[in-house]
Amino acid sequence: MAVIDAGPRSTFTGTIRVRLRTPARRRNLELFLLLGALVLAGGAMVLVELGALGRVGGTLLVLEGGLAVLVLLGHVAERVVAPDADPFVFPIAVLLNGVGIAEISRIDIAKGLGGWEAAGVRQIVWTGIALIVAFAALVLIRNHRVLQRYRYIAMFSAIVLLLLPVLPGIGRTISGARVWIAIGPFSFQPGELAKIALAIFFAGYLVTARDSLSMVGRTFLGMRFPRVRDLGPILVIWVLAMAVIVFQHDLGTALLYFGLFLVMLYVATGRLSWVIIGLLLFGCGAYIAGRSLNYVAGRFGSWLDAFNPAVYEKSGGSYQLVQGLFGLANGGLVGTGLGQGRPDIVPLAESDYIVASLGEELGLVGLFALLALYLLFVSRGFRIGFTGQDDFGRLLGVGLSFVVALQVFIVIGGVTRVIPLTGLTTPFLAAGGSSLVANWIIVALLLRLSDSVRNQPHWVVDTAPIPVMASSSDPSAAPAGGAS
């Protein structure tokens, strides 16, 4: 412990002591939380089977046991390769993932699906794959700064990933959106991985370019606006987002990418003008799309006038939205109980509408708990942004956690009519392999980033009580009336 004398004694009543603190490792806390998350996830599965079937089946629980072993192995690996990582991120992801599997299995039961047909079984297998991929990433990327070097490769990968579904032959259109590729029996949504590549690219690019983006330009209405030639990048991203809307019919993904870019741009440059320009650009684009593209207009119509019988009965109308609301209302405050509701009435109850399914069976109480978990997850990511050592790491941490927050908002906001409904997956909860793999990679990156933040010792003000030293030179120490 170092004690620094903060100044001449005569001007202070005492000393401020500062010491160098090495953050405590929190692996045991993480293990404790992980065990809790596993118990809750397993309990949810048992309740689902008891509630919907009236008995506990073996297969799914055995598969989940396998996952639990993987999770614990991951924890052990983490003790070796990222001993200082944040203790909350991993358990939160495990819990969300586990609750998701339970609810997906519940809908399989309602639909009478079993074996490989069952989305729940596939979700368990995908979770296993995602865990392995995530820990491979954690082991391989020992220093996140290498990612900065690959920023243009990241950009290129993102564009390729986005373009893949448009390619004839492997591209697939599912519920109106062309965001899937299918090779043999496997289908994948490459856009989910693209968001990570984009976050890496944005962080790397903005760290190098932010000076020119923030320092130069002319001031107008009290804000500094950028030079026209510096508008290049934002226009490129805007074109990309618009292309997603026009060619892939995927409003949610476009909003996600553009929102991610704007927030990272703002955090990097500190210029509100960028946000305003971005929002104006996106607003214009969305308005034009709404006027010219039927599916966008339909989404807005369903949002604003969901209960109108004409909108409700129209193909691609508000049927799903309204049935989801009925499901939520059926859940009410405390929910029907796992396995006791009828979430399967809503189309896509296991993927896009997993939140409505959970809201029905776990009630408002359950949804609040899930939202709180997401909020905690995001706040742990933002912590990296606040306390990180290097700007690339800070930007990347903020970008990755913000993309989760924004995706949660777009999906749940769509289901609960805060914004128009778009087809995105709820991170960790919704059925879908690509989404799981992408979000678990985000977990790995956040663990890596937090590890690098926390293994640096830093100066802290010592809060231990300081003995008050009476000093004759302190005027207040002498009673005012003492001289007379």
Binding site: S379, R394, F409
Partner: protein, 485 residues
């Protein structure tokens, strides 16, 4: 960078607050609206999956939920479905509900506000939620007697206890078997429902309290006579000119008394005589003298025009509509013209007279009991109104007893019992069959039952039948059933 990050954190927080808010609004504040939306099949499933409470008559279930193996979990079963159909109504998958099944649906399905804590308790302790059971005021013996007495006629019978308003019997014919509508096959329910809907006998309508209503005919004279005595200007001995026929003012319509000729043969006819022999001409003059407002006021006190009467099923209001000429006023004063009433309304008129002028609110539910046997609601007799003074009630009772003992309602006589009654034979469209009525109560001094009987479609005899011939004997059997129990 930290300043920007703080601002972004606030944006994220706002985004999540919006989600906390939107889920709260949907799951708490809009919950009832969303649940009652007709497109919400969950509410339907839920109302089937909870073990619906039973409807009981004298402790025996007439409607119960039987466990099934399909997705609805329970099916409704009606013991003696046709006999009690006017009380229970039906409970279907997709064609709505009627009767008590509809009026007390939230109690039967366990979703009434009083049951909220019990439901919460059931959820927390893992029990299946159960609805409350409903004990009716129906007396099975009286109900059966009314059912048998009405035979194959198209019509309705209502019997109630004048002192409490408790409905002892309610029968409407032709009717249906609610079991046929309780099946869990939507297509079958729809086809049965459509068949019942187009049936010329309108079996789905409970004629005792609803439907297209009938003109009351001479039973309405009870209301007009009440208004006359309440006005203080008339006594039973007040007299009117007594012609054998009368041409209505400013019209070519000629009205006659039902039996033809004058009323009792004297130069003048008293109100007492006119009521006893059910003469139209003196009542037409009395009605004109009293005026629309006086009679309308009296009718409303008896319950006419009351759109809020629930037993707890909604009762279609009986009407005595505004007349726009002296001729119409005269016709409406003996229950013709646009006057339309339910049998329940006429039973209420009799009940009020029998109960010394005090009209008790009619109801068919005795108590609602939760599965844990706690009583959620218990019928306490409540005063609906006091349409006439006890003096008028005494006068009216004497006139009605006379009416049965030695007047136009002779077929309701019971040995050793003073029966008070009034018949009615209402004309419909020219040439159309009459509507036959009887309403009354017994024993006159201490009434146990007030009854109203309507036989529609002339009892199958066109214009040849009359109230005393067909309706009075039905009422007599119902009264006997009550007095013999």
């Amino acid at each position: 960078m930290n300043k920007e990050l703080r601002r972004v954190s606030i944006v994220v927080l706002i985004m999540f607050l919006a989600l906390f808010g939107s889920t709260t609004i949907i799951q708490v504040f809009q919950q009832d609206n969303l649940k009652s939306d007709g497109r919400n099949v969950r509410t339907l499933y839920a109302s089937f999956s909870a073990e619906r409470g039973s409807i009981l008559v004298a402790g025996q279930p007439i409607a119960t939920s039987i466990a099934t193996n399909d997705k609805y979990k329970y099916q409704r079963q009606y013991a003696n479905g046709q006999l009690y159909s006017a009380v229970t109504g039906y409970f279907t998958l997709n064609q709505g509900n009627t009767g008590l099944e509809n009026a007390l649906n939230n109690y039967l399905s366990g979703t009434a506000n009083e049951q909220f804590l019990a439901q919460l308790n059931a959820i927390l302790t893992g029990q299946n939620p159960k609805g409350a059971s409903v004990e009716t005021t129906i007396d099975p013996v009286v109900q059966q007697a009314a059912w048998d007495a009405l035979g194959n006629y198209q019509g309705a019978v209502v019997a109630l206890n004048p002192k409490t308003g408790a409905i002892l019997a309610m029968v409407s014919k032709p009717t249906f078997d609610p079991n046929t509508l309780a099946v869990h096959n939507s297509a079958q329910v729809i086809s049965t429902y459509k068949q019942l809907l187009v049936d010329s006998g309108d079996p789905l309508i409970n004629r005792a309290i609803a439907g297209s209503l009938n003109p009351p005919g001479s039973t309405f004279k009870l209301v007009v006579a009440s208004a006359a005595f309440e006005s203080g200007q008339y006594t039973p001995d007040s007299t009117f000119p007594n012609p054998g026929s009368l041409t209505l003012p400013q019209s070519s319509t000629v009205i006659t008394n039902a039996e033809g000729g004058s009323c009792g043969g004297a130069d003048t006819a008293s109100i007492a005589t006119a009521l006893r022999l059910s003469c139209n001409i003196p009542f037409a003059q009395l009605g004109l003298a009293l005026g629309y407002n006086t009679i309308s006021g009296q009718a409303k006190k008896y319950g006419f025009d009351d759109d809020n009467l629930r037993i707890p099923m909604k009762v279609t209001p009986s009407v005595y509509p505004q007349t726009d000429s002296d001729a119409q006023q005269m016709i409406s004063s003996f229950g013709q013209g646009n006057d339309r009433v339910t049998p329940l309304q006429m039973a209420m008129v009799s009940a009020a007279i029998g109960n010394g002028g005090k009209l008790m609110t009619p109801n068919v539910v005795d108590n609602i009991t939760a599965p844990d046997l706690s009583v959620l609601q218990k019928l306490t007799p409540t005063l609906y109104n006091t349409p006439i003074s006890s003096a008028t009630a005494t006068t009216m009772t004497q006139l009605m007893v006379n009416n049965v003992a030695n007047g136009a309602a002779s077929n309701a006589r019971i040995n050793g019992v003073d029966v008070a009654g009034k018949t009615g034979t209402a004309q419909n469209a020219p040439g159309a069959p009459y509507t036959l009525w009887f309403t009354g109560f017994a024993p006159a001094a201490d009434p146990q039952v007030a009854v109203a009987v309507v036989v529609e479609n002339g009892g199958g005899r066109g214009q040849s039948a009359f109230g005393n011939l067909l309706a009075a004997p039905i009422a007599k059997k119902v009264i006997e059933a009550v007095l013999n129990r």
